[in-house]
Amino acid sequence: MSYIAKPRVSHPGLPKNKLGLTTRDYEGTVSTLCAGCGHDSVTAAIIQAVFELDVEPHMLAKMSGIGCSSKTPAYFVSQSHGFNSVHGRMPSVTTGANAANRDLMYIGVSGDGDSLSIGVGQFVHAIRRNLNMCYMIENNGVYGLTKGQFSASADIGSLPKKGLPNQQEPIDPVSTALSLGATYIGRSFSGDKEQLVPLIKGALMHDGFALVDVISPCVTFNDHEGSTKSYAHTRQFYHHVTDMDYIPPAEEIKAKYAEGEAMPVELHDGSTIMLRKVDDEYDPTSRAAAFKYLRDHFNAGEITTGLLYINKERREMHDLMGNVDTPLAELPLDSLNPGSTELRKILKRYA
């Protein structure tokens, strides 16, 4: 950590978004994570994404559990809502918050320990419910906060700093989410903001559960030779299958795309995700094909990244439940509460 706070002085030529804010206005306190932690880069990518989306800070809710990753919501958008919940319980707290106020934009920041070990039950059920949120996993393969034991995402054969290689099968959050029917699944790397920022923007704007699994190296406990989640290893085995641009509603598509390369996906609010396939073979709309592709490349030791799956058909939690458009938190008490006469009628059904 640093003893001085990041000075408030900024570059006078910084671009401003539609709200007249600069990226500096979306910052939080200075990180207390280790210098060089991938999570700090993910934080910077989130700041860039919400800046570019012109997000009003008070319309954003930052949710987290416990772990290095879960500290990070303190490091971005100081003026938004935040809830630092119990270990692994971020999804259920977010479900409650979202149930009460569907108008807010939810970003949950979790880690491989928080989501794939203690909170794996919560994680899978949030996907099942298609909870409308951006769910980030800062995935480094170790429990950094407790000094580097392997986590559930550690690959077989990956070496710890000291001791024996990992022998247990890893849980891959992307394949898991795919098998559970998540509707937006991406994977990226903290060291590749060009890919990560649009991926986060799409995830925030997607209507439903959006998973962004980010390889985010633990510079202290898992950045050595023999680690499969180090900066060097990730870069060496990085397999980039799609690129994407996020294009806000009513904005002209300026970039030129080669014939057959681009695949536009329109989101519920009229914005467009322009998918660009780096690998022609890849079909991000087919669960089965995506699953096979991921498995094959995983077996070849590669880390497949990009927007890996998107489904616009499945409805999000509120729509599945048939809820009103107005957030429940904003409804007057008499419309939320049917009153004692109605209650008696309901109870009579069970008499």
Binding site: S2, Y3, R8, P12, G13, A35, D40, S41, A44, Y231
Partner: protein, 600 residues
Amino acid sequence: MKPTDTTNPDYFHKVVDCQWACPAHTDVPEYIRLIAQGRFSDAYLENRKSNVFPGILGRVCDRPCEPACRRGRVEDKPVAICRLKRVAADHRDDITDQLPKAPAETNGKKVALIGAGCASLGVANDLAPLGYEITIFEALGATGGLMRTNIPRFRLPPEVLDEEIDYILDMGVDLKLNHPIESMKALLDSDEYDAVFVGTGAPRGKNLEIPGRYDSDRIHIGIEWLESVAFEHIETIGERVLIIGVGNTAMDCCRTSLRLGAKDVKVMARKPRGFFKASDWELEDAEEENVDIVVNHSPKEFVLEDGKLVGMRFDVMEYNIDETGRIDRGKAVDEVMIPCDDVILAIGQDNAFPWIERDIGIEFNEWDCPVVDEKTMMCSRDGVFFGGDSAFGPKNIIWAVAHAHEAAISIHKYCQGEDIGDRLPVGLNLSTQKMGMHEWSYSNDYDPAGRRLMPHVDLKERFKKLDIEVELGFTAEQAAKEVERCLNCDIQTVFTAKLCIECDACIDICPVDCLTITHNGEEADLRTRLSAPAENLEQALYVSDDLPQTGRVMVKDEDLCVHCSLCAERCPTGAWDMQKSHILLPYAADEADSKETTAA
């Protein structure tokens, strides 16, 4: 772009904008840190090494450092560098025992210095400690040259001047006052001196040849008039005074007039604001004293009635200024008569060498200035050197000091029979400032405080006498605040590409977005691909070697870096480090030492 060559001392020197802009290259951040530590004497001596006259320059320097100061780009106002120099001078203890001393025995070489102004004194300062026998010839009855004659006492008290000049004279310099050199030929032919240095300034005030100029004795040449005031030959002036010209001499003339009894002083400018020669701060100080600055008035004629000056006629001008900010010659749209009792002409000054014969091997150019080598300061006759305003026309004190250091090196080498063109190169030392995990040897936090305002003597009080110094100097509290505004630009961000793991930590933490990791390209292209606009082409891009993992490069735009050290603190591998760059400027003493070392 090619990786930046940081072994060239100029690269990091340029990052220290103030030091680079200073003709004498005073190590500004270093002395500001010494002030911050309360080490005023050390700060004074650090200054004296390069600029010789800290107390004088702390009051009246032209301060090229301040417009260059990075703080002025990051925020609005630069650090008050000049006035901090005065803080060092004001608060120093007796430092006489730490000054250079002349050796007990001279080296047998004699050097004549003509003129006792800043240039000659600077040469004496460098050569006396090496054992040279120095003689200074001065036409007037006092030392200091224009520092004494042209700068009014309310800006530069004579005690300050005397003290710093005495430091030099006390090294055993032979000073001959009231001793004008009337023939350079005679001096050279006498063969008494091994070398001669000319530091006679630019002593001739420009005239204004318009009707009526010679019909009244109430029309004065600015620098001559200031000199007469300084020597108390003139003690009064009329109530209504017009100053023609709007340079720094004009500012001294108008403010001096107020102190001699003038009630209505107008500075008449030919051009609009923004095209004035005077420094902003001198303008501010004059306007604070209710001097009226009248723009767009071009002098036409002096108006006399019965042989008495009653006013001046002016053309009222109109100008066009194009998009690049250039102004045209303008046209007269009206005419106006402005009544006055005295007129002071302050429209510039020229060199004058009536005492240098033109057939003694000293070549003069088309402007009647000597032809002088800019590096060695020697003219076309071997063994004759020039410096200060007499070399290249009117500049300022700090330039004269810079010339003096170079001339001293040349004179030394010339007297020792060495090649004066073969000089020691500028050197560079880099040393890490890391003291611990999050600890640096300097105050790295950014202090958002604004520039402190210099306290002035009350308006009424200051006019009572001619020699009441207007500026009071910073108080201890003000100085303590102002030093923290310095960005420590000499504590350089030094990058080692092979250590970088491209984690982006430095890029994410940089408060002014000056770092980028990207694919290499030509400079013009790279500048469009950086984290924040890099539009200041004066400021370099620091480009690294190829990074080990991706082959991209680290690019730093030096323009707005606040040297806060966060990049180095957030770097997990020590690829970034904060290292103090110490620019080693060779002086005559270093040249002497280097030969001794070689001989040994």
